[in-house]
Each structure stands twice: as C-alpha cells, then as structure tokens.
Symmetry: C2
Subunit: 361 residues, 2 copies
C-alpha cells in the first residue's frame, strides 16, 4: 500500500521531551493523581516517575468502587502492537458504570503508552518487553518503572487480574483465555475455571519456558487469579472486537460483578469452545530459512502427516519448498501469518484437549 | 503473546556482512546470472551491484519462455511486510511450467530481500521505500540500485506488469486489483480491463498525490499495462491466499498465457465484484490522536451519517471518544486496523462506483 505516514518513523517520538507529566509536580515515587478508594466512579492517572531516560509518564486509570465483592484489575496495552485490549477496555469503561452491581473494578487500558504509540511490541525508549520485567525496578529504565508502579500501587488492590493481550499482527489465533501451568493445584483449578468463564472458542493451558518476569508469574506468586486473554491475532477488526467484548462480559457475569446471562460467541465456523493444553514440545518450528505459508486455519484438527504449512526458501528458486506436517493428532491453536522466518523459528502451536486430572478443573 | 524471537531484533541483519553475492565475482553493473532468452524454463538471479552500503544482492528470477505471445513480468516483495505476493509468486512457479502455452512470463517473487527478511515496509539498510525511487540510480543506495537493476534489465522485457502488493498488517482491504488514473485514455482503458480480469471482489481506480517514483508511473510512461494487485491486508492466511491465486490465474487466462475458465472467487460474504474509484478527498482522517477502533467492514455500503469507526483519546479517560461517520453514500474500500493514530492520519478509504465515461472501460 502507498501510505503517506509511517508509524515506524514515529518510533522515536517518545523521547525525553514527549514523556511529560502534564505539568504536574514531578514526584520521585509512583503515585495516583486521584483518590481511587472513593465510592463510585473515578478517573485519573497512575504516574510513573521520571528517570534518566524519560520524564514522568501518566497512565490513565479508571476505577469503579461499589463496595463489597470481587476486586478485579483489568489491564491492556502491555505490548504496543496488540490493540484489541485497549479498545475493549475503553469500551468497558463506557458500559460498566451502568452495569456493575458490587465489588471494585480498576481498568488501565494502556499499560505501556510509548509502545502503543509506536505500534511496537517492546518499549521504544529502552527496548524492553514490559511482560518480562515484573515486578520492575523503581530505579530502572522506563519499562521497569512502569512494572514497578503497577506492581506496587495497583496489583495489591486486586484479587483477580485480566490482562488483555493478543497474538499481535503476524499470527493467527482464535480468541482465547490462557494461563500457564501453576504449581499450586488449587490456584490452577480456580484460574482454569475463571479462564473458561470467558466462553471464548479456546481456553489454553500453555506451558513454555520463557516466563521469567511475566506479570502473571508475579500475581500467581501472590495467590491471585490471573487470566491472560489472548484476543486473536492479525487485523484488529470490528467482528473480532465484538467477540472479545462478549467474552469479557461473560467473565464479569461469572464473577458476580454484573448481572446477565453469558453468551457463547461464534468464531468463524466454530461454535463450540474447548480447553486445550500446549507444551514446548508442541511447537512446530521452521526447518529452514524462508517464507512460511500457512496452509491450515486455527482450530483445525489435524492428523499425523496432515499439511500445516509450507516453507519456501527464497534465496534461490532452485531450492524446493518444504512441507511442514503434523507429527501427531492435534488441534492447531496458533499459526504464523505469512512471514520470513529463520531456521528453528516457531511457525505454529499445536495442542490437545486438556488433561482434566492434572488440574482438577 | 509471548514470543521468544523478535523480528525487530533482526532489523539490522542486512548489514554489509549479510549482503553477499554468494561468492560470485562482483560486477559493477546489474546483470543476470543466466540466459533469460533461452526457450523454456530457466532460473537464476538478477544481481544488484554492491555499493557503499551493501555487498551485491542477488534477486531470484524465474523465466518461462514459450515464444510468441504476451510478455508479462510478475513481481512481489517490493514492501517487506506484504508477503502475500512472494507466496503467490512462489506457488505460480510451481504450476506455470505445466500450464503456460505461449508468450513469456518472468517472475521475481522478492524484489526487496532485505525488507522481506526484516518484515519491514522499507529497506532497512537505507530506510527507503522501493516503490518511491523508480527508476532508481546505479550509484545510489541499495534500494535505488534495486530499482535501477529492475528498470534497466527486466522492465524492457515486458509489455505487461503485475506487481503483487498488499495493504500490509495494519489495514483491512478486500483482494483488489488497482491502478492510478492514467492521462493516456487508451492505456487507462486497457489497464482497467486488465485489472478487472483478475475478477477480484474489487477493482479500484485510486487517485492520490504521492505517486512520484512509483514503479507503475515508470511503466505507464513507457506505454506498458501495469496492474498493482493489492492482495488484502492483515494476517496472511490460507483462505485469502487461495483467493489471490485464483485472481492471478484468471488474469493469465485473460492474457491467453494459460488455458482455462475464469472463476469468481468469493470473499467473506461478498460474491460480487465491482469497479470503484477513490480520490484524495475520499480519505477519512482521524480528528484527534488516539486509538482507532474500526466499526465497519470492507465492502460495507454506508450512507451519510453511518458509523465508520471510533477514535478513543488515550491520554486521559476523561476525554470522550469521537464517532467518525460517513459524509456521503460510499463503499468502504479499506479500513485501518485498530492502531494508535495521530491527528489527520488516514483511517479509512471510501469509494464509489467508477464513472465509466472517464476511462471508456
């Protein structure tokens, strides 16, 4: 496409001069600009203090306090190229004041404004992934200071956390609620039940090894129920957003925060939902460098030998394309969009029905 | 999503050390490594000479020479985050040898390997947009040298060009064949007819002002028929790729290069196709800075006042979201995926049925 403006050209926008605190006096510790404990609805900012790399950063915060009941924190915009979360969070703020009957809900639509503005997974200023630096550091770089502010001021106010992610622009994934395996069996069972309450097409128990510094690891270590909603991948479109909003509504009903009847949203041709698990060994990796062509769709059931995708070497047209096939009966839970990949880069995640015995769910 | 590898971390891969010519002797002028005029199928490389910024760059080239008939050049991978083109081109190379009955087809699946490998619209090495530097410069930076090599060695071998683009990851668009308005009425009519032969859901005559240095401008100035296929946007998935391949096959049938009966591919719920035109004044721009939420889908017909999308200011939750509405009866031909946008950034392209009188099509 011929585009006049380039988002990437703006990647440096969040330089020192743009990270302001709106003229408010600079504080050296993270703080809220409003009384979040007041009854009813309130709005303001969580101010992440300035540091060597950036001025103070105000994160917009919404709070709706209706007394006794579940204490829920909803966050979006951890990764700047996963914008389903901020949009669904922003919609939620419109209808929650009419709908919420008890408890407390705090919503932070955008945890990482510099990344969102740059349409970048990581923070542009320091190159860090916010979801790998929890609990953060008060004297660290801006990403670490965001994590520190959230960990210290907002997380203690919640017993349950919904962190609204997506698979970003270069994967396809059905709308899903996910959790990592948790050593504490009771917390694991509670978390899986909470995840299933979204009634998304897929609930996924996802084992992988790169979990150090993740927000959910911190929350789980404090005994909190933390569900990561992975709201699809690819284009952020109106149809998918409608599904996501239904899922969040379902989860709020399950918590008793709002009244209503849960709906099971349809996704493409799939009307059922299922709880799956995937392990590191279920990752399908590219056997060579080249362009990956997806040849199946998410939620497809595949048998041993079925075609998942094709790897096209692109350095020479004399090199044959390579078929990538399923090694066992599986369900395709995520597949890479057409992209240039390196050898051993993950191009699909396969899964199987969750073993109920493990988690008592 | 938790991804272990970051494409952006690889953006610098195409440094001097990676731009090699595979051990072949370096030449100071662009050249082909094989005899492209030989009858039948041949494969090799178009070597873009080394420069101050990069070693020589070999672009894989496929040629199928069946004597008299149309002379067609098909190119993909001009922009590195539009990978539908390279995949469809690569598939074409598999079936064309069996199917082509006359004429000559040259296929270059990836015009800009450094951009494709970095999943970047522009070339990483020099930051340039390949589709803004034609006809290029022999002594320029690597993007300009690619344009120069293609303009001097490949373009003269073709009377017709299909350049396979897409709208990239952060727009939605139906599979389309497009052309800019052309001053030469005969060439315009021929080009629109060629574009319509793809039988995509949309044929689009697209007026905009930022056309200097575009590949089609160069080809049109030489009297060639040049169609830009804009193969959708967002996730590169298997269903969309199937539509794209049908469209290219239809166009080859129309040229008489292959035999067969054209099909009209269905796209989502739309089974018709239409020829539309859009002008600069049809661009819908964001009235403020914030996250754009699409609220309609491509090919939707909208009337004056219908909701196109919502702009959510994100710096403060006290600022109201802003509805963006259609100013007149239109068809939505492209809509921005959910993304952070600046004030006056384009978020949708509206269109109307093409005025047949203008182009005699």
């Amino acid at each position: 496409m011929r585009r006049r403006k380039r988002k990437q050209a703006q990647a440096g926008d969040y330089s020192r001069k743009h990270c302001t605190n709106g003229g408010r006096p600079v504080s050296e510790t993270p703080h809220l600009t409003f009384d979040i404990d007041q009854p009813g609805m309130s709005k303001g900012h969580l101010v992440v203090p300035k540091g060597a790399d950036c001025e103070a950063l105000p994160l917009p915060v919404f709070s709706l306090n209706k007394g006794e009941g579940p204490r829920l924190l909803i966050t979006g915009g951890c990764h700047g190229n996963e914008l389903e979360g901020p949009i669904v969070a922003r919609r939620l703020i419109d209808w929650l004041p009419e709908a919420q009957t008890c408890g407390r809900v705090i919503v932070v639509p955008v945890l990482n404004p510099p990344a969102v503005q740059a349409w970048s997974r990581n923070t542009v200023v320091d190159g860090l992934n916010l979801n790998r630096v929890f609990p953060g550091r008060a004297d660290g770089s801006v990403t670490e200071r965001i994590a520190d502010a959230v960990s210290r001021l907002l997380l203690p106010m919640a017993d349950i956390v919904f962190d609204l992610h997506s698979f970003g622009p270069n994967w396809d994934l059905p709308p899903s609620s996910t959790t990592h395996p948790i050593a504490d069996a009771d917390l694991m069972a509670k978390t899986v039940r909470m995840a299933e309450a979204f009634k998304f097409p897929m609930t996924l128990v996802w084992e992988h090894h790169d979990t150090s510094g993740m927000f959910d690891m911190l929350a789980h270590s404090q005994g909190k129920v933390f569900v990561c909603a992975e709201l699809g991948g690819g284009t952020v479109g109106s149809e998918a957003l409608a599904i996501y909003e239904v899922g969040v509504h379902n989860a709020l009903i399950a918590l008793g925060l709002v009244e209503g009847k849960a709906e099971r949203p349809a996704f493409r041709q799939h009307k059922s939902n299922q709880t799956l698990e995937t392990r590191s060994s279920d990752e399908l990796k590219s056997p060579a460098r080249g362009i990956f062509e997806p040849r199946c769709s998410v939620l497809d059931e595949v048998k041993q030998g079925d075609l998942i995708g094709i790897l096209h070497p692109m350095d020479s047209l004399s090199a044959n394309s390579i078929d990538l096939r399923a090694s066992t009966t599986s369900i395709v839970c995520a597949i890479r969009s057409g992209a240039h990949v390196d050898v051993n880069e993950v191009v699909a995640l396969l899964a199987r029905p969750q073993s109920l015995k493990i988690y008592g769910g």
